[in-house]
Symmetry: none
């Protein structure tokens, strides 16, 4: 159902726990990566840049905080939200975690459902993964794959339509001027007097079906996407 190809990295030394977490995440359409120790976790994170990381505090070798530090050091992983999981219910640890910049915290025992929901909550704030994904409302646009999912279903867009939609969706709530759109799609050589933009927008709207209404015209200014 979810075309949401978010990848979640789970770092925990207890294999049973990892299995449980991954099983539940996968059930929700996420792709999972597993690491049974800290160093592997850091390596996988750098290599695959997951959308979010579930990190156990107690680990052999590098512990959770060290892993977290390592992730924050690296430019490639600095912005990935981390959900820290621990057996300890102690407040001191929770504070230390949050202070260090951990994005959320969950204490064992937790229900798998809650974990999935917390991961989802973290992903909600992620603007666009590596700059390659734009997501808002019913739209999910993967710039690297140039594919577009609407309400979970793949819709084939031409490159012009894709750039148009990506521009509007990534600037949700803002009115994007005609000039900006033309500049973004055709560059400086774009012809503002032509009906090109309108035509492509019309073709795009046809493909969006009911969601076309989310793109509104602001007369004399441009267009605005709002979810």
């Amino acid at each position: 159902m979810e075309a949401n190809a978010h990848t979640i990295l789970v770092i925990d030394d207890e294999e049973d726990v990892v299995d449980l977490i991954c099983f539940n995440l996968e059930k929700d359409g996420y792709v999972t990566l597993r690491a049974l120790d800290g160093q592997t976790g850091v390596n996988l994170a750098c290599q695959h840049r997951p959308s979010a990381i579930v990190l156990d505090l107690m680990l052999p070798g590098l512990d959770g905080f060290q892993v977290f530090e390592a992730l924050r050091q690296d430019a490639r992983t600095r912005h990935i939200p981390v959900l820290m999981v621990t057996a300890k219910a102690e407040t001191a640890d929770r504070i230390a975690g949050l202070k260090a910049g951990v994005d959320d915290y969950l204490t064992k025992p937790f229900s798998p459902k809650e974990l999935v929901l917390r991961v989802k909550a973290l992903l909600k704030w992620v603007p666009d993964q590596t700059g390659m994904v734009v997501e808002s409302g019913p739209f999910y646009l993967d710039k690297s794959a140039l594919c577009c999912y609407i309400d979970g279903e793949e819709v084939s867009l031409t490159s012009t339509e894709f750039r148009l939609l990506a521009m509007l969706v990534s600037r949700e709530g803002e009115t994007v001027t005609r000039e900006d759109l033309i500049e973004h799609i055709w560059g400086a050589s774009g012809n503002p007097s032509s009906r090109s933009l309108d035509t492509h927008l019309m073709r795009l709207r046809e493909k969006l079906g009911a969601d076309a209404a989310l793109i509104k015209n602001v007369r004399g200014k441009g267009y605005r996407y709002h979810h």
Copy 2:
């Protein structure tokens, strides 16, 4: 230290708790708003549009979920992150909260430090659009989106109407002269003897409905908006 004075709304019926939370938030440089029941909370949220909301689940009158729903219904408060606080450690509630879209969850007893850190974590994701928004009374004008909300509902205005209303609302209480308004909308080439301004003002008032009364004419001088 913080130039960015984020406002946090705290909704809880226990005054001691509110005091404690507010005290700690203020210590960190935040501006706080208090509400001791749900309805007050919703009203304050709509009125002041805080950067984040701390919401107790157990409230007299409207309960936490109802408050949350109300906040998500209103265009003015839809995007404000909510941290829900509850005495119950029960997983079912936590899940229900997260499922409904609550952005974070904290179980009593919690340390004030942790609460502040969690609020900070929520604010991390909030985009800052100060200066782009004019708001007062029932009006909410977003200059970047060029859209206008009245009592939480979107009202479509033409660009002239928008500029007119923005001018008046941003100079609340002041009598803005006809000349100033004409200058602001048409520039120096504006024609003061024309009935244009009156016509646009009339059209604007039609769209404002009952709130049209907030814009008063000052005979021989100009117009004044007062809430």
